[in-house]
Symmetry: C4
Subunit: 249 residues, 4 copies
């Protein structure tokens, strides 16, 4: 996979670039923040995962700049391997690609939830929700139509796996765990995994003073869940400002 | 109508896609929320109505993915009928198109008000207005220039039809009914129809904790009314925040 | 000037379309609100003025759809004269172009201030400023760097004309008159003219519960003044919310 | 360098134009405000600096319209020298290019910090931060993930130079000096230089009631730092509104 190789627009590496530009425009991944990873669910080896590199402007990523891992977690290719010039417009002469610090977090979502894609943003709505409710370890909200865009998830006792059994209902309460941030992003792995286990109904985890991790069965589902949750978080901040409770009695 | 067939840019199916992208950028239809339906008022059969499917990313819709109904309400074509591949970029392998849950609501606007197009959004301005005035069943606002973009509607006693007799005036009070949300969108039909009957002067209905339905004589009129109402709702929230009454005495 | 005739991109009729799209994205002319007029200052007859029509979606305007007037105020061409099809995507079958209701206001700016272009928006920042300071007939603000983008205007006693003598300074106080809105836009003409006379230092007039009129020596100056004033109004609302006085003592 | 000469898209003059359009969309350089300067770090003479002109619409700049200086500070080329027509769409007939008033400020960053690019914006987040904390001469914030996008800077006692030794940590406190605005932008030079000397750990300086200056090793680093700081300032305003302290104890 050389830097100049053409990727089909539906290739996971291309989709990461497309979505990073979209997320940049939403203010979710500015300043090199955030990241995306997509699993090649339709490819020959569905255990192949493409991961955006760290410390690079997300909106300027090129498909040839991805890290490639094979689940459960071996990095099998890095953009530093290439003998071609980096495609990025980053002018740093000797740019050394580093895997996203949140790679172990992404891999946790793939391995524990059989996700097809994981999104991590620094959305201010997410950060503000963890600050306003700084004494809470969960974020809860109910009785808003947009909740219906989220999956109804249930733990299958036989298989031990969390399965999607439908969509959430208007009157359901969306509960997202909030974990505490750590100085090094990879150190979040344990508490993220604990939250994923403890909240089988959640398709996202908030990280205090940091942002949010969202995953889904496919890249498009992950995108839709992320959009719906961010919409709900934004609405929650406005409701709070107006003294309206987030969960209807 | 195969998936790969070309649609003229002014074809209702193309206009639905164009407007969905615009509404997505406004945050009105993110996370698969909201939807649009356009009646082929200039076509051979003006009772033909194009309707966006449900559960799909609105900003990625393609013209070949629409449901087609004939008024007063028979679905005559679905994108599942096609033998071509779906045009959507949705990666779900066996995506099954479902008609928008709000289809009976759209049809109510066509049949009761002879509308040319119906727009449904999850606009946060609409949702917040129904939350801040949660004890009210109407939203009222007056003495703002933008009100003049809305139609002056009157019930014609002879024909029993609501007719546009001009534009609202600066000093007029715009009154929009607010109906309560229901767990299933199709169950809104009765209360929406009741609101349409009870408020002959309204070209839109707010749905508590959900969003708004707006219609107009043509797709462009519906778009303009939707924009003007959203502008007014946004302004109303700012006025409320500053303690300014919405209706001038 | 037929509907299909090509206009150079710097032609006033083209620039009106370009700026309307930009202003639409800013939320200043949604729902058919607002409008622009440009004088052909570089053309053969600098008294020719191009004016956007009324009741049409500003972001979809085409150059062939403008009204043309000759100063001091004769309309010499209307898009209804054309034997070509309207270029607009407006689907109304028999669309009848009407001159902007604010045409006499635009002409006042041309005739009284020798303006090269006039912009009218329904900016929510402008409307909110007139609502928050509803008991005031002027809006004043000082000691913000952006004020330096505005012209220093002075009445020349010899010629009786208002002339630009430089730029405002950081410590200067920008004063914009606020006039009361009227049911019919053309009835604003008298009070707008009075405000223009009474405030020789102002390059804009706020209209209560309505919006703003801004003019300048050229279309680009008018655009820059409009941007700078909207920036200042937006900042003023935030300052007010935080209890910070707009004029520094 | 004639006006019609083609510039490679990675040429500093091209990048200034590209970034000005981006910053315009963010509301950072509207109304001719703000500006950018880029040093040709990869060129034949790395002391060559390209500077956007003053009083011109930043989003409409063309590469041929830049001023060129050689460090430590001689202007060696101005767009007025050209015998070609100005590329700008600015309709002013005899437009006379003026160097940005903040040129000596930009040069200070190059000479004192060996910067590769300097960005100056009128960001409302920056201005509001200096107004809300009007009695403070520093802005401080800690324990937000986005802080990690900023450089850890340290004064090297041997060389007397400030060097980047890594990235800031989550628990670090970002401290930005705030200097008072002056009527003439060039008069800010002394206090900016003093702030740069006094705050070796800062990669930006806030100017009260005016905006912000941000610099970095390369244009992309400067852009990333600017984005991260603006994100933090925006978040700080929301935290303040909700009574949340900016520095965690």
């Amino acid at each position: 996979m050389s830097g100049s190789e053409e990727f089909h627009q539906n290739h996971p590496a291309s989709l990461i670039c497309e979505l990073c530009r979209l997320f940049y425009d939403n203010g979710w991944v500015t300043g090199t923040g955030g990241g995306i990873s997509i699993r090649d669910v339709d490819g020959e080896n569905p255990n192949i995962v493409y991961i955006a590199p760290s410390g690079i402007q997300k909106e300027r990523l090129q498909p040839g700049e991805m890290f490639v891992a094979e689940l459960p977690g071996t990095i099998i290719k890095t953009p530093n391997d290439e003998n071609s010039l980096p495609l990025s417009k980053d002018l740093a002469a000797n740019f050394k690609y580093k895997p996203l610090a949140c790679t172990p977090l992404f891999l946790s979502c793939y391995n524990m939830r059989d996700a097809g894609a994981c999104i991590h943003t620094h959305s201010q709505n997410a950060v503000m929700a963890t600050l306003i409710w700084e004494d809470k370890v969960e974020f809860s909200m109910s009785h808003i139509e947009q909740i219906k865009a989220l999956p109804q998830l249930e733990l299958n006792d036989k298989t031990g796996k969390v399965e999607k059994v439908g969509s959430m209902q208007f009157y359901d309460t969306m509960v997202l765990p909030i974990i505490e941030n750590t100085p090094h992003e990879e150190d979040l792995t344990d508490s993220l995994q604990e939250a994923i286990r403890k909240y089988p109904g959640a398709t996202a985890v908030l990280v205090r003073r940091h942002g949010i991790y969202v995953w889904g069965e496919t890249v498009w589902k992950a995108k839709v869940y992320n959009e719906a949750i961010d919409y709900l978080l934004e609405l929650a901040l406005k409701m709070h400002q107006n003294g309206i409770p987030l969960v209807k009695e």
